[in-house]
């Protein structure tokens, strides 16, 4: 399997390349009202408005700060049965890793920084640190996204947001 790796909150994470449509530089993101904080807004992808999700925030690793290496990984998922293009904001895209099937193992049930539910496994290659492989389908599983979007949809306080 080929993995794309990127930095999230200072650490390298990976996803399978089969999910990735393309990777683009992070452009201007327009805020969208009534969205949970991990939905950053919408960006222009060749004339189309694509939602951008703050992956670090979604995984509980804290809000991503936009920097000069910030990238958006474009993926396609089903939302309520409709195939939908989403952008996933990451701090920096690092490299491609060709992992042999034996090199990717199941996630340990404990001791991971990211909730094991969101991990597809770990990639272990000789001489390298363990590389967590994220289960994007699960993280962006849309019942969950929409559910969170509904639950966190807080009423606007007179003072405004946080």
């Amino acid at each position: 399997v080929t993995l794309v790796t990127f930095l999230l909150a200072g650490e390298e994470h990976a996803v399978g390349i089969d999910r990735v449509l393309e990777i683009v530089a992070c452009g201007l993101i327009t805020r969208v009202p009534a969205m949970p904080p991990f939905i950053r807004g919408a960006m222009n992808l060749r004339g189309r408005a694509v939602p951008v999700i703050d992956l670090a925030h979604r995984l509980g690793l804290g809000e991503a700060k936009l920097g000069r290496f910030s990238c958006v990984v474009i993926v396609r998922v089903d939302i309520a049965g409709e195939p939908t293009t989403l952008g996933v904001l990451v701090d920096e895209v690092r490299r491609l890793v060709d992992a042999a099937p034996g090199e990717v193992g199941p996630p340990p049930p404990l001791g991971t920084r990211v909730h094991p539910e969101y991990l597809a496994g770990f990639c272990a290659r000789g001489g390298e640190a363990l590389l967590p492989v994220l289960d994007l389908a699960r993280i962006l599983s849309t019942e969950e996204l929409l559910l969170v979007a509904g639950a966190e949809r807080s009423p606007a306080s007179p003072e405004g947001g946080p």
């Binding site: 009534a34 919408a42 960006m43 004339g47 189309r48 939908t84 979007a149 405004g160």
Partner: protein
């Protein structure tokens, strides 16, 4: 089935659909104009065309039924049979049968029509009762086209069928050209020779025209869909022993093809409901001094950039006392006896209400109206009911503008740009410094105090703006007016609206997205949604202890 044949069968299906639709229209018209020979001819041509095409593909059962219908029409033409409600119903059943068989022809081939035999038999029986003889002379097949009455069936209408996805693809490509043009401009730059800049400018102009053309292709008039309910009104009122006729208003209003498709079932449901629960039986109507024949209006109109579709009846109306009792029993409204109409009538759309309604067979509306509400909300729209006891009920489905070139008005909050439909903007003004830096309030406008809210606060975003720097846009929707305070006014702009991602469905006030010339995404706001959010925020503010 090989792909060539599959393509031919698909063409057959589409043409049959079209012909049967006109046959249906003619049948319904025939009921009120039984002596109109041209209607019978039109019916004949339509059915005959279907028969010929079915024969060439070997769909024997369809041919047999179409042939039987032709015989029946012949009897009509020759005066051997008279037009009555029963005959029209039989004709319509045959048309439905042919339509269903044609629809299945692609998957089931020649077997598609196997269920048609009983219908064909009934047609023959009807003819036998009227004492007519079968015209064996007109054998199945296309050889007798020369005998067809002259008419439009063979004329080309000058239209082309296109799959919706191909239109979408064209639209997307057109959008990408816009971006490529911007990139090109970045390379050429304002320092380029005049000729180069002129050539670029020509391209930009041509592209804008192209984009307008492509966009308008997706827009269809609502007329044919609304007129389709004529049949529903006829069938359902006959079923319930009632009389009703349909009036269509605003047939020329155009909406996105997808919107009208998705609202077809909900509107059909409302039409059924209007007859089933709204229109009274003829005797009762006469006793109340009404025309025994009920009137149902299917209406379309534009409002504040969106489209409102209404189904109106002049029937019995909703009964407040019964609604209140039901709402109380189900705990849907806190104080139903004192609730206003809007709040009380809204309960008919709650899921629990429908079930209870069905169980107790109360007269009134309700069954499945929650499904109507869900369908409209999936399009980011809203539903509303107005009713007067004894006078009738109107249900309005309001959908925001979806995919279209919108005459917009841009406003800014920080660096973000939002686009409002131009036709909803009544006025603009500077927000007086006396309004303070936060909270809602009133500003003088049109000689009265106009309430305003701050868009920033409605959206729950960040710090208050510097006092005296804000502007107010006055918006009008459904007869109400509201001021929206923003940081900046960008003025009039023409934008392409695309549907917002399903992920943004929770944002009630967002109608769609648009990419501006600068490359920035702008949200297109739904005025009705904004009003709704503002009212909610107002209620919260009043109820919050401060």
């Amino acid at each position: 089935m090989d792909s060539d044949r599959e393509a031919i069968v698909e063409v057959f299906r589409l043409e049959a659909e079209e012909n049967l639709a006109s046959a249906e229209d003619a049948s319904i018209a025939l009921e009120s104009r039984p002596d109109d020979a041209e209607l019978v001819n039109a019916l004949f041509r339509a059915v005959h065309t279907v028969k010929g095409a079915a024969d060439s593909l070997g769909f024997g059962a369809i041919v047999s039924l179409a042939h039987a219908v032709e015989d029946l029409l012949d009897d009509l033409r020759e005066g051997r049979l008279g037009v009555d409600a029963w005959l029209i119903t039989l004709l319509l059943e045959c048309i439905d049968g042919l339509r269903a068989a044609a629809g299945r022809s692609r998957t089931e081939g020649a077997d598609a029509g196997s269920a048609l035999a009983p219908l064909a038999r009934r047609v023959q029986e009807a003819r036998a009762r009227a004492g007519s003889r079968s015209s064996e002379a007109r054998a199945a097949g296309g050889g007798d086209r020369g005998q067809l009455p002259a008419g439009g069936a063979l004329r080309r209408s000058g239209t082309v069928r296109v799959q919706a996805e191909r239109l979408d693809a064209a639209l997307r490509l057109s959008g990408e050209i816009a971006v490529a043009l911007d990139r090109l401009w970045g390379l050429i730059g304002p320092a380029a020779p005049q000729e180069t800049r002129d050539a670029h400018q020509d391209l930009v102009g041509l592209h804008r025209d192209l984009q307008e053309q492509v966009t308008s292709l997706r827009m269809v008039p609502v007329g044919p869909t609304l007129r389709g309910f004529v049949r529903t009104v006829r069938d359902v009122s006959a079923l319930h022993g009632k009389q009703a006729r349909l009036v269509v208003e605003g047939a020329e209003i155009t909406v996105d093809a997808d919107v009208i498709e998705r609202l077809f079932e909900p509107m059909m449901h409302l039409v059924r409901n209007a007859i089933d629960h709204g229109i009274e039986p003829p005797d009762e109507r006469r006793a109340r001094g009404k025309d025994p024949c009920g009137r149902i209006v299917a209406r379309a109109r534009r409002d504040a950039g969106g489209v409102v579709l209404q189904i109106e009846d002049d029937g019995a109306g909703l009964r407040r006392d019964r609604l209140a009792a039901r709402a109380r029993a189900l705990g849907l409204v806190a104080d139903p006896e004192h609730a206003d109409d809007e709040e009380l009538f809204a309960v008919v759309f709650s899921p629990g209400f429908s079930t209870a309604e069905r169980a107790t067979d109360l007269s009134g509306r309700g069954v499945g109206l929650d499904a109507v509400k869900r369908a409209v909300e999936a399009l980011r729209g809203s539903v509303a009911v107005e009713s007067r006891e004894g006078a009738g009920t109107t249900v309005s489905l309001r959908v925001p503008v979806t995919l279209a070139l919108l005459d917009g008005f841009g406003v800014g909050l920080d660096d973000d740009v939002f686009v409002l439909p131009r036709e909803a903007v009544r006025a603009c003004m500077a927000l007086p410094a006396s309004a303070g830096g936060r909270g809602s309030g009133v500003v003088p406008a049109f000689g009265r105090a106009l309430p305003f809210v701050r868009l920033r606060e409605l959206f729950g975003w960040g710090r208050p703006a510097a006092a005296g720097m804000e502007s107010v846009v006055v918006l009008g929707c459904e007869g109400a007016e509201l001021g929206i305070a923003v940081d900046r006014l960008h003025g009039e702009t023409k934008v392409m609206v695309a549907p917002a991602s399903p992920l943004f469905r929770g944002a009630r006030s967002v109608a769609g997205c648009s990419v501006l010339g600068s490359g920035r995404v702008a949200l297109v706001l739904d005025v009705a949604g904004l009003f709704h959010e503002a009212r909610r925020a107002g209620r919260r503010e009043r109820s919050a202890p401060s």
